[in-house]
Symmetry: C2
Subunit: 115 residues, 2 copies
């Protein structure tokens, strides 16, 4: 599977949709984003992550349960990063916690059914 | 509210996370994407859309109900676009239908609570 595409299990599982607009002051942002991505991958219940940015940045992370999401939200290093994000990097962000109820995928030359 | 940020109501509502990798052949893609975005906005139950692309493209659209999502999925012009997407534009895509259970946002200088 491609490194930038999350290979998630069959639903149900959970998704956190993080949408953001960055401010002009982004010193230290890339390092922190890379560190948080690496740290997220080590958390219990982490299933995958997908990310893209133009004007708007969208990061979707996938988790096995609401408890796993809550544990990551309150992880000490992540709390510090969130605080720094609010103080310095983000003009705006939204967080949406979702239950993935249905999923399907397509790949050239093959059609995956519901998974 | 910013044009690229969806101004959604209080949960619950629904999100469709569309993640894709494009093939090299993308003739006609931009026109079709713009047409589908304009058409989606006219559909009953449409609440907003957010989109970004680097290697991976992520488009999240928001809807009031599963019925609204199903109506858009089976809309004739959209079915045609999906078929063309599979034949010509996408190397890979996934569609995840989600229920947004909780949401909050932050804007510089103000903190929005749960909405």
């Amino acid at each position: 599977m491609d490194t930038n595409i999350a290979n998630t299990p069959a639903p149900p599982y959970y998704a956190v949709i993080f949408t953001s607009l960055k401010s002009d002051a982004i010193e230290g942002y890339e390092e922190m984003a890379a560190r948080m991505e690496a740290l997220a991958k080590q958390q219990p219940g982490y299933l995958g992550m997908e990310s893209a940015r133009n004007d708007v940045g969208i990061t979707v992370s996938y988790w096995s349960s609401l408890e796993a999401i809550e544990a990551w939200r309150t992880h000490a290093a992540h709390v510090t990063a969130q605080q720094r994000g609010k103080e310095a990097w983000y003009e705006y962000y939204s967080v949406r916690v979702c239950k993935v109820e249905r999923a399907y995928s397509f790949r050239t030359g093959m059609r995956h059914g519901d998974f």
